[in-house]
Symmetry: C3
Subunit: 449 residues, 3 copies
């Protein structure tokens, strides 16, 4: 079987690396959860019944439906959005699943630690679940930048570092600077995008063109990616409103995001046709840029932005994002040596910055002053850690390829068993008969003389 065997590489063998990493991380997590985590007053039977509440006062009923929408965005939305690559569907969905499952546990601990402990304990409930999923979203954005070029172990290491830095960054922005950022334009999207871009920079592969033919989509893979796109698009109002205040805040945030996304979709289609040489729509734009309206409405969505303001924000975000895919991404790769597989700079980076500016110009400016270059230096350090040759990363020629990490049965052989066998048999018959004929003829030729 020609393709499935692929390019075997003992380095990419995960037989021991992956189990050891997973087991160690999970056992550490379980121990820390045992020591540090306890139910909050809405999930603990004693505490809840102790106080005098109506049952519908439990935060579960305010937030759980939004949590489930966010959960779908994390696992289906991000997971399937990245399946656009022709030979990387298992890895896109599968590694997304793995690192999200790790990140949400680690995020519970890190965010609990920075959001304030209660008598030495981290309290968990539906709000901590949403926050953990948010932090996970940030890791998955970074995953998009390095998609196809890393091993699962590398991704787990990245997730652990990124979640930790995410919690620090979130603490600085929300607690120290008092910024409001319910939908995470800054904390989730901008952070996740630039983190991912810096990692991609450090992991720059000059010879990536060797797997260029796999770094593109096919008809069906684009259809699967649209599942991801649409779930992200539909549930983005829930994402932005999930942790805003009860009542009008949640209501207004969902409404604003809804209009921002609708306007963004129209400008995305317009720009996609306009920037194509033959007026044909490009699936890359539709799958990604149409979501920029949600990112850009992240910070200001909970404010009295009005539907009018939201639509302007979304409209501009779509235009910027398509232009980014068309003109900026090639420059990022050629000049800055950043190979951004999913174009997260165009979907999360620029619209995230735009959202932060729309939402809170002052806070955004103050940020730079506080961070200095500390954060960037830390991320570069992580990059070099990730570059160590111990993780079983794929070679340049086997990037964007499932079969190095997954058991892949080839469809062309199995889908049409009768037909393909028949073809093969005939082909070889022809081949052999032709060659026999030629040989025969040659012999005859010799004899003749």
């Amino acid at each position: 079987n020609i393709i499935a065997r692929g390019r075997e590489d003992t380095n990419t063998n995960m037989r021991l690396k992956l189990p050891i990493t997973c087991f160690i991380l999970e056992i550490i997590l379980i121990i820390l959860f045992g020591v540090l985590v306890e139910y909050d007053k809405e999930t603990d039977a004693r505490k809840w019944h102790h106080s005098n509440h109506s049952e519908y006062d439990n935060d579960f009923y305010y937030r759980y439906p939004s949590f489930q929408d966010v959960h779908v965005m994390i696992f289906i939305g991000f997971g399937f959005l990245m399946t656009f690559l022709q030979r990387y569907g298992f890895s896109s969905v599968g590694f997304n699943f793995l690192i999200a499952a790790l990140a949400l546990q680690w995020a519970t601990l890190m965010q609990g630690f920075f959001h304030g402990m209660h008598g030495g304990k981290i309290h968990v409930g539906v709000e901590s679940m949403i926050n953990a999923d948010f932090c996970t979203g940030s890791v998955l954005i970074s995953f998009g930048a390095v998609l196809g070029k890393t091993s699962p172990v590398q991704l787990l290491v990245m997730a652990v570092f990124e979640v930790t830095l995410f919690a620090v960054n979130e603490f600085i922005l929300l607690s120290l600077l008092g910024t409001k950022d319910a939908g995470g334009s800054m904390t989730i999207h901008t952070f996740g995008a630039y983190f991912g871009l810096m990692v991609a920079r450090v992991l720059y592969r000059p010879n990536l063109h060797k797997s260029k033919h796999k770094n593109s989509s096919v008809y069906h893979s684009d259809m699967f990616a649209m599942i991801g796109t649409l779930y992200l698009w539909m549930f983005w109002p829930s994402f932005n409103s999930a942790i805003t205040a009860h009542g009008d805040d949640q209501h207004r945030t969902a409404l604003n995001t809804y209009y921002s996304l609708a306007a963004c979709t129209l400008s995305t289609y317009a720009m996609s046709a306009l920037t194509a040489h033959d007026g044909k729509l490009d699936m890359v734009h539709i799958q990604n840029a149409a979501l920029a309206g949600g990112v850009a409405a992240g910070t200001a969505g909970e404010m009295m932005l009005t539907p009018f303001g939201s639509m302007i924000v979304g409209f501009l975000a779509g235009i910027i994002s398509v232009l980014g895919y068309k003109y900026l991404s090639p420059i990022l790769e050629s000049k800055l040596k950043i190979q951004d597989t999913c174009g997260v700079h165009n979907l999360h980076g620029m619209p995230g910055v735009m959202g932060a500016i729309v939402g809170a110009v002052t806070a955004s400016l103050a940020t730079k002053e506080i961070y200095g270059d500390g954060l960037i230096q830390i991320i570069f350090c992580l990059g070099f850690i990730m570059k160590l040759p111990i993780y079983g990363a794929p070679s340049d020629a086997s990037c964007f390829e499932d079969s190095i990490y997954w058991e892949v049965i080839e469809s062309v052989i199995n889908w049409y068993p009768v037909l393909s066998i028949e073809m093969t048999v005939h082909k070889y018959n022809y081949g052999i008969s032709c060659k026999k004929t030629e040989f025969f003829l040659f012999v005859w030729f010799l004899i003749s003389f």
Copy 2:
């Protein structure tokens, strides 16, 4: 690349037509929203906190989960239901996405205008979002009737007209006649279906048989379509109950729809096997007719229909719908010259009428009297507007084909790069060697004599 180049047609080039249409429409929308739209009392921070409410009294908590289910039906449900065509997946999902994003904005304005302005302003909140999505559903039903035969610009024009007429029709039915139609058997399904059928009639193509080979499904496209079917089926209880009164009404409507759909599914499977010459189930029936129970329970679902009544309604709707696909659709095409790609007459038309009869015989009869033929005349006018040769509609031979509006990379070439190249090389080798052999033999033959 043989197929992807397809039949190039300068007329279908969307380079300027689509961007200009999108930009003009969106800018008009933004201006109108700026002038006319404001938050309602549940989404406006001042108004909400001014009055004395509990937070859980906000309509958001009563309706937002249902809204999200409806939203999934509009974008995933309708979008993927139409991906059954083998070469029209991008357009089905992508144009569905585009026209839905436009329609929900335009519907907010039109419905706000007819539902009553508040001091010259249209109030928006979760209820207006649900209503806008409902109106969008109607446009998408009409899209189903003309699927594969229109350009995106044509669809945008259709959406603007249809949304406007929808709001007028809804105003007449609900406000003037006082009909109750929470699930929209009449306002959404019957209206959307007959609107679409009339447009399809005007756009009749006598030579559509030229693209007949593309007007069918393949194995994978039917699997994608089942995603759409199941989401519509599962969330139909939310669709019908989304804007009914709080409390027992929402609860009862969801329950009735649930039983109607379950009974409909059994009669659909039964009829599909019964009407096939060899007893084999037909995916067209399963994908569509199994949903007729939701349509038929739209009007009466909120009433005290009882599960017993709901099941009878669903059971009959499934039977009628399969019979429609089997016997009526061919007649519609041959006799009435209506080429109904998705069979919306069988899924939304007849079950919608049935639902209206079940729900409100009197109102349904009164309707005809009021409308006269005015509505039909308006729709025919629209049809002729849509028939103008300015929109870049596909030629008869390039209907049901993605590659005229989308960048399509062919899967057969890219999926199995090694194999296909290898095959090609061998094939040509054989070809050449055979031809060489023949030539050689011919020469030899000549020489021999």
Copy 3:
């Protein structure tokens, strides 16, 4: 068309068998619903408005979002999880749809009967809808064990019997023994799995190897199956919490299940790489074993298990489940003659027992004493009923094949019409020219001498 015609078998013709079965069952259901079922006090307009409630006190607002999540698990989750087979996608999703639609109606009656009638009437509302979906889940688990080897009529018969026994078993466990099992580790998963395994045992096919080449996945079918997996994974917190008590109970159950699943995912990936000879991840494990954490947290999830306890449970469930797929399934087939297509023993059987032990050791022990072997004998009887040669079950060589029950248009022919025709033509040209050449040469050879 070579494949589509497949192996025609008059026995598998469903032209009359399926419609008769569906119509009889549905008419019986409608009559029984008419006689026995009425709205409960939360869905009946008079009863609800009679008592003095706030509208948000209606159980609809507590449970409907969870119900919709469960509904998605039943129809998309179970349906798509089983599409991993290369040639059985229509049947997996389609028969899942059919038997679920039947089972939820029959379950409403059976559970209503055993849960206590109200003045001779069965009361229905959102809680009965959730319970009916749960019971349906159990039938779909059993379907997984016999997937590909049964006719739809056989499955409908199985569903009727299994739902009835499910209600009896649930009555014994929950009402007589007073066990708590909100997430159904025992009532749903363990019952469904062992019921399915016993049916699979009775339906043992010694010559199943004849369709061995179809009993495996291909690239795209594994992608579709991941849709099922992820929806089950994401919504399992809703599944386990859907019918627990209002307030902290629902909240805590969702939280515990969330952590159990996250830990389970990490141990699943670790074990999948560890048990593979080349360290490559196996899609079978990821698709199934990663869900074992939800099954195992079913009984104890509502208790004060703590996130720490949940993670330990999930972690172990993942390990057990992968080991089951790797080492136990082959033994079950070779020694016990149980051909478990989906490996439900590993996903639902063992983790279900584990969940029951974690949740209630005592109850679990008491169970055996009460049942004796009665239940097993009844299931074996059903097995023999299902083995009667009247249902049109597929022959050994046509198992795992859609085309015996569905109209299947072959993709290879239709997807690439131009290319495939071209290839065919060329191929035959070569073939003919080669053969002509050979013949010519042979004649020449003869003449020459």
